[in-house]
């Protein structure tokens, strides 16, 4: 490897990483947070079977899941100005990513809500709780636990999807890399480099997912539990 190339790679590392930290991460965090809010609301509307709103929710999911993310970005960023609606690149990216991810996560949440046994809702009614109280205290906590792994999946996808924001002039990691490539003519090394930085980000998230899952898991609760330990030791004793 030539010294020149090595110099470029080392040099550009911070030049790529900084937009990563300053743009890619905030873009992901903001979009995913809004997406979660949309997802929970849309999933609950469907779960509670609220008439008109349910139709609207299904329509929203149908449209968003059925069209490419890139097309959505273009329609909002390059198309809407035709109607006099102009949104800055970064907020526009947040808007589109939230709406897009919200539709997918809504389906994840709906499945998770439906996996909580209905009997627990009836039990909630019978002890005098209201529907919203039951949702908040009983159903949602269980659904979030179930939805945690697939939602982590969505979050990891989203980190990588933010590279599409380069198309609407958001200077995030990928756009920053493209600019360096245009100057240096080293596409192979630099695109691999940015790929590795995405990999680094996703590795951290995967680690966090494992931590989160362990914290949420039922088995962890059991391991802490003295009675469970007692049973385990008993069964060992019996085997001997």
């Amino acid at each position: 490897m030539s010294d020149r190339l090595l110099g470029i790679i080392v040099d550009s590392f911070t030049k790529i990483l900084i937009p990563g930290i300053k743009v890619t991460i905030p873009l992901t965090v903001l979009s995913f947070s809004f997406a979660m809010v949309i997802a929970v609301i849309v999933a609950m509307i469907q779960f509670a079977n609220i008439k008109v709103l349910k139709q609207i929710s299904r329509f929203y999911i149908w449209v968003v899941r059925g069209t490419p993310l890139l097309v959505q970005l273009y329609v909002i960023f390059y198309g809407l100005p035709n109607m006099g609606i102009i949104i800055d690149p970064f907020p526009c990216a947040v808007l589109v990513f939230s709406i897009n991810e919200g539709a997918y996560c809504a389906e994840t949440m709906r499945a998770a809500l439906e996996s909580v046994p209905k009997g627990q809702i009836e039990a909630g009614y019978c002890v005098g709780m209201s529907y919203l109280q039951i949702m908040r205290r009983i159903v949602l906590p269980q659904a979030l636990r179930i939805a945690f792994p697939p939602l982590s999946n969505s979050l990891i996808s989203m980190v990588k999807d933010t590279s599409l924001a380069a198309n609407i002039t958001v200077v995030e990691m990928f756009m920053a890399t493209q600019r360096i490539v245009a100057r240096t003519y080293e596409p192979l090394a630099l695109y691999i480099e940015v790929g590795l930085i995405y990999l680094l980000f996703c590795t951290v998230l995967t680690g966090l997912q494992h931590l989160g899952e362990r914290k949420l898991s039922v088995t962890a609760e059991r391991r802490k539990d003295p009675w469970y330990r007692h049973v385990i030791s008993q069964s060992r004793f019996r085997r001997r």
């Binding site: 046994p117 009997g119 627990q120 009836e122 039990a123 909630g124 009614y125 019978c126 002890v127 005098g128 709780m129 209201s130 109280q133 205290r137 009983i138 906590p141 269980q142 636990r145 039922v218 609760e221 059991r222 539990d225 009675w227 469970y228």
Partner: protein, 246 residues
Amino acid sequence: MVQARNITKSFQAQIVLRGVDLFVEKGDVVAILGPSGSGKTTLLRCLNFLETADGGTLEFDGETFQMGHVSKRDIARLRKKTAFVFQNYNLFSNKTALQNVTEGLVIGRKMDKVKAMEIGRRALDKVGLSDRYDYYPHQLSGGQQQRVGIARALATDPEIIYFDEPTSALDPELIGEVLTVMKQLAEEGMTMLVVTHEMSFARNVSNKVIFMEDGRVLEQGSSKEFFENPKEERIKAFLQTLRGGA
């Protein structure tokens, strides 16, 4: 205390209840017997509005309700005076035994948390689970879970407890512990309406029996009379097969 008249209910084309009357006095322990599919569970669920009956009137504590159209507020008010014990326990999986019992008090009734814990502990003590306050449902046996279910019902100080086949999901050796608790409640004068297949409970603990078949009540009367002197041929046959089975 509870008087229901002419309850009807159908699911799509299938008629489940064909005009059921039911009378429960304060302190009664009523066993609802009958073959599977006779509408026993649906009857119980209609009484607590887990299903909406098509028609019929319910008189509860002197108030009369049209069962087909009751307002949500009335339902919520009525439910605060009753409690329900489910066949599959239906404990809140994300709550400990004690939280399961206090949830309805703290959240549903806005009771002070310390007071609710006190009541919750007492209810769990009563069903013999003093050493299981902080256990999650999955850490408890079926019998223990059902006893938590009963404690949860007791804690809300209900005027009547509806039991929907409380022992049907249990292993035979765990049925006893649940029946013992129910018997104790009966002796303390709790009003109970129990859908059950446990003939020993119906015969020895309950004072009244309702026998249902095909959405109708065939016989309703004292349990002594029912077992010793059944009037209907159908009931004689039913009791006969039970004896044969046992």
